[in-house]
């Protein structure tokens, strides 16, 4: 059993050579390819990650810009709305005022027209009354007066009516 701790220098040297040769050959034929592939994949992942982060940052910036624009548009819209309301109020007052003015004018015109119609109707009534009176008078007088006297009476009456 004491042989367990007795080193075999031949095996020791052979193992060192074997191991170092294996390190060299594996580095040349396997590890460089595997590590290269791994680093390439990691680089690709890092690039993709960076690209995604850049895209996210760009999207964030765009979102902020859009938010700012939206806020600006909203403010502008509120402002314009207030202006529109103000203009609407003003126009409403103008329209009301114009309508009132027009209605007053139409009322005055209507009143004047009514007055004119009334005067005309009164004149017509007067004429009719006169004709009727003359007709009535002529019928009364027809039996008592001559035509000449009757005509003078009628003329006189007409003159009086005109004078009135």
């Amino acid at each position: 059993m004491e042989d367990l701790l007795k080193p075999d220098y031949g095996v020791l040297v052979l193992t060192v050579c074997n191991f170092l040769l294996l390190v060299y050959l594996l580095k040349k034929f396997a590890w460089n390819l595997i590590i290269g592939g791994l680093e390439k994949r990691e680089q690709q992942i890092a690039d993709d990650k960076k690209q995604a982060q850049d895209a996210r940052a760009a999207a964030e910036t765009l979102k902020q810009e859009l938010d700012a624009k939206l806020a600006q548009i909203s403010e502008e819209a509120s402002k314009r709305m207030a202006e529109a309301v103000k203009i609407g109020e003003k126009q409403k007052e103008q329209i009301l005022s114009a309508a009132k003015e027009q209605s007053d004018r139409l009322l005055a015109q209507a009143k004047a027209q009514i007055e004119a119609e009334k005067n005309k109707a009164l004149a017509d009534v007067r004429g009719e009354i006169a004709r009727t009176a003359v007709l009535a008078a002529s019928k009364v007088v027809q039996q008592q007066m001559s035509e000449a006297s009757a005509k003078s009476v009628v003329d006189r009456v007409l003159e009086e009516i005109k004078a009135k």
């Binding site: 059993m1 042989d3 367990l4 701790l5 007795k6 080193p7 075999d8 220098y9 031949g10 095996v11 020791l12 040297v13 052979l14 193992t15 060192v16 074997n18 191991f19 170092l20 040769l21 294996l22 390190v23 050959l25 594996l26 580095k27 034929f29 396997a30 590890w31 460089n32 390819l33 595997i34 590590i35 592939g37 791994l38 994949r41």
Partner: protein, 253 residues
């Protein structure tokens, strides 16, 4: 043949007696096992590294990339920093070599080469060489030697501290060899002893031997599972400690 002889026969290395012009060549069971492992690793990994983008190829390549990531991010970079990146192939090979050497013992008719002090000493020697190379590469001969003196050490203590630190580093490397050797040896000794229980008890009485069969086999199975764990653990510990020692000479206090 007594029990000690049986155990020794199963654990000790066997010289195949190959000579060249009267010079004895170190062709032993353990050295042949190691060479076989090297050939299998070389062919296997070279094949995996050149696999195309087929499904199996992607699976094996991804598996190897994960392994390299584990060695790089779990062992090399935390202990050696970015300077250790150029030594990544060494550590990737070391871990697999130690692991396969330990696992080979679980295959029938093969032996655990790392249960041989010459093999573990050789691996520790390589690690010691790597530590020395790192020290000389990153600090130069003077800087490397200065690294053995902790900062703030009074001048009169330097002659005492310096040899102590040098010896400490040598001991650390030696302990690497002894730890791996002892762990692998003890595990295999326990496995053989458990099997021998059946025969020893059977020699006393055949019925007792038959009765000892099931418990002994159960324990054997348990120990084999434990050996699997120990194989991975020791490969990890050996690789980790080598990177820590190399890192300590790269980043001196």
């Amino acid at each position: 043949m007594d029990v000690a002889e049986i155990i020794a026969h199963h654990i000790l290395d066997h010289d195949w007696g190959v000579t060249l012009d009267g010079l004895r060549l170190p062709i032993t069971t353990h050295s042949v096992t190691l060479m076989a492992i090297s050939v299998v690793l070389l062919l296997g990994l070279s094949w995996i590294a050149r696999l195309g983008p087929s499904r199996a190829g992607r699976l094996l390549t991804t598996l190897m990339e994960e392994y390299v990531s584990f060695i790089r991010d779990g062992i090399v970079l935390p202990n050696m920093g970015k300077e250790g990146k150029s030594f990544l192939p060494y550590f990737c090979t070391l871990f697999l070599f130690v692991l396969c050497s330990a696992l080979a013992g679980l295959i029938p008719n093969m032996k655990t080469a790392t249960a041989n002090i010459s093999v573990t000493a050789a691996l520790a020697l390589c690690s010691g060489g790597l530590i020395l190379y790192c020290g000389l590469k990153f600090h130069g001969p003077i800087g490397f030697l200065k690294g053995f003196i902790p900062s703030g050490t009074p001048g009169w203590l330097v002659p005492l501290i310096f040899p102590l630190e040098v010896v400490s580093m040598i001991i650390k490397v030696c302990v690497l060899a002894i730890r791996l050797f002892a762990n692998m040896l003890s595990g295999h000794m326990v496995l053989i002893c458990l099997l021998l229980i059946i025969f020893v008890v059977g020699q006393m009485h055949i019925a007792a031997g038959a009765g000892a069969l099931l418990p002994a086999m159960g324990l054997e199975l348990f120990m084999t599972c434990l050996e699997l764990l120990v194989a991975f653990l020791q490969a990890y510990v050996f690789t980790l400690l080598t990177s820590i020692f190399a890192g300590s000479v790269i980043h001196t206090h």
